[in-house]
């Protein structure tokens, strides 16, 4: 791989002068016929692709009225233009959110509006031809669906939804992205994004149990397929495989151990992530959600807890209710059965941060915060949690709870500049199905705004630790931090901080809390 030229971080974030076509190209690797067909998409670009695409656009805009409103409502005010991290990092004008939307909007106008049908040139209506499709593929895979632009749009136009719609149209004509679709094939077949088979998963968990006991002297368990557990834990499979994720998994296990509540993971549904959302496919997303429902029914659990994964929490918090009946909403037989099975005294689903926060509030967890005294911690709000969900059932809970959990475990916490956190958080640069090596240039450049904010916090406040609650963010930062002269090991899971400071007690000596 050729070395990339990466500019040094600026002292202040400046809006770059446009560099036309600076990110022009073929886009990420395309999915093979085999990968496409596994998901029920055509293996190759179909012959009458234009017709199928326009029919799909008609279906999408009528089914998702939000998409139609977003396409109709834009007044080209320009408020979004400098809000996208990919535009700020690449200066390619097609990475301005309005320009990205216009790739889809111009075709919509041509086929679905009166003016566009009869006077296309007057209203910027364009045909979906080969060149347009190439632009769609390239630039809709330069959008991490982070929704930052939507926060600043006076109409609330959400480019993420348009990007999802465009990717779905491309998939139904047989043009899919290798990275996302290969992963989706694996989750459907094996149960997780990695394609990690059950024996490897079991072996890994046993190994972690040994490690924790060796280090702490306490037998903390990581149960798999335990039919007598109260809680089913679903977490991104990166937590089983990658660094620094795995130390977060150890943190969850320690928290469960201290809580006294019985828990389990499932080898059938060993994945919280759901890339079905990234490709805009309701059917594919539902399939992933139903695996978790089946596992919950089979194991007979009364609670479902979700690990540190950004978009998983958006899917779980916002869509599981109607997708699968977790939380109420869906009305098919199995959804109703699950709703009856789940304990309504607890949030369903619950985020691991909510679970830990609740125990902290009740005084059940004890921390030795000095264990984290070598760290000056800041927190990266992951986009799908920040702008697509909530926690704790309180306003802005998704910003408050993770910070409170960190502060309970660490003496030194400081936020990054406020224009770059909470609802205005910058994407890590690798979300939305873009965390793949073939998009590395985009990932590094798109991380620049977050890196710039981090640099400021490092210089002003001595920050040396970046905590996150998303598997994609953690992997992305590990990879891109060195490009901006940071230590790649400064990125940690929030539950790693919890893990390092939590005081463990031997369960054989203390009685489990009945009230939990």
């Amino acid at each position: 791989m050729a070395e990339l030229e990466i500019d040094k971080l600026p002292t202040y974030l400046e809006i770059p002068a446009i560099q036309k076509d600076s990110m022009a190209g073929d886009g990420p690797f395309k999915a093979s016929a085999e990968i496409q067909e596994q998901l029920g998409f055509p293996g190759e670009k179909v012959e009458n692709w234009q017709q199928i695409a326009i029919e799909k656009m008609a279906e999408t805009t009528s089914k998702y009225r939000s998409v139609q409103v977003f396409l109709d409502a834009c007044v080209k005010c320009g408020a979004c233009t400098d809000k996208c991290h990919y535009y700020l990092g690449t200066a390619d004008p097609k990475n301005m959110p309005v320009a990205r939307q216009d790739l889809f909007r111009s075709v919509y106008r041509r086929h679905f509006t009166f003016a566009g049908k009869y006077f296309p040139k007057l209203v910027g209506a364009k045909e979906l031809d080969d060149a347009m499709l190439d632009d769609w593929y390239n630039y809709f895979h330069q959008c991490s669906q982070c929704r930052r632009c939507a926060v600043f749009c006076p109409y609330g136009i959400d480019t993420a939804e348009i990007s999802m719609a465009a990717r779905e149209v491309m998939n139904v004509i047989g043009v899919g992205q290798k990275y996302s679709n290969q992963i989706l094939g694996r989750i459907n077949k094996i149960g997780n994004n990695l394609g990690m088979p059950e024996p490897a998963l079991r072996d890994t968990l046993l190994d972690l149990e040994e490690e924790i006991e060796k280090e702490t002297g306490v037998a903390v368990k990581l149960p798999l397929d335990n039919k007598h557990a109260e809680i089913l834990m679903v977490t991104p499979s990166a937590d089983f495989f990658a660094e620094p994720h795995i130390d977060g998994l150890i943190g969850y296990a320690k928290v469960f151990h201290q809580s006294g509540v019985t828990w389990t993971m499932s080898s059938y549904a060993s994945e919280a992530a759901n890339f079905g959302m990234f490709i805009g496919s309701y059917e594919v997303m539902r399939k992933g959600a139903l695996r978790i429902r089946k596992a919950a029914l089979d194991l007979g659990v009364s609670r479902i807890v979700v690990g540190e994964c950004g978009h998983a929490w958006r899917v779980a918090y916002s869509f599981w209710n109607t997708l699968s009946g977790i939380g109420g909403g869906a009305s098919d037989e199995y959804a109703l059965k699950l709703q009856k099975q789940l304990d309504s005294n607890y949030p369903q689903p619950q985020h691991i941060i909510e679970f830990t926060y609740d125990l902290i509030q009740k005084g059940i967890l004890t921390f030795d915060k000095t264990k984290n005294d070598h760290r000056k911690v800041t927190f990266h709000d992951s986009c799908n949690v920040a702008r697509g969900s909530n926690m704790g059932d309180i306003e802005n809970g998704q910003f408050i709870l993770p910070r409170e959990v960190i502060k309970a475990a660490c003496n030194h916490f400081v936020d990054m500049p406020k224009a770059t956190i909470k609802a205005s958080t910058y994407c890590c640069g690798g979300g939305g199905g873009l965390l793949t090596d073939d998009l590395i240039e985009l990932r590094i450049k798109g991380a620049m705004p977050r890196m710039q904010a981090l640099k400021q916090s490092q210089e002003n406040d001595g920050v040396n630790t970046l905590a996150a609650i998303c598997a994609i963010c953690k992997s992305q930062f590990s990879k891109v931090l060195p490009n901006y002269d940071f230590d790649p090991y400064m990125i940690v899971s929030v539950h790693q901080l919890v893990s390092d400071a939590l005081v463990l007690s031997d369960k054989s000596e203390t009685k489990a809390e009945d009230s939990l």
Binding site: T204, L208, A238
Partner: protein
């Protein structure tokens, strides 16, 4: 289709068929990345292959670092050391040299 020493690889340079692997292929892949394979590299590659043979999957990074600590000493059983051997990542670059599929997901 791309190839290396006459065997098919995918667009990212991973072997299409695991059975096609040989030590010569690992050497050729490493040479393409400007890496000369040392005894330590081979320990990693061999462990990856052994683990894959048993589990049909690459070991988690933590499992790999512990195995390397056992084989090469505690000072080498950590991810910083493994990254010094495989700058593009012990899991990804290591698996490629070992002829195994690329680990993907949120990793």
């Amino acid at each position: 289709m791309a190839e290396i020493l006459g065997v098919g690889v995918d667009e990212e340079g991973y072997l299409l068929k695991i059975a096609d692997w040989s030590e010569e292929i690992a050497l050729a892949m490493a040479a393409e990345d400007d890496i000369e394979l040392s005894a330590e590299h081979w320990e990693v590659i061999n462990f990856l292959r052994e683990y894959f043979e048993e589990y049909e999957f690459a070991p988690a990074v933590r499992i790999l670092t512990k195995a390397i600590a056992k084989r090469l000493g505690n000072d080498k059983g950590n991810s910083r050391y493994l990254y010094s051997l495989f700058p593009y990542g012990p899991a990804k670059q290591g698996c490629r040299f070992a002829g195994l599929p690329k680990p993907t997901g949120c990793v």
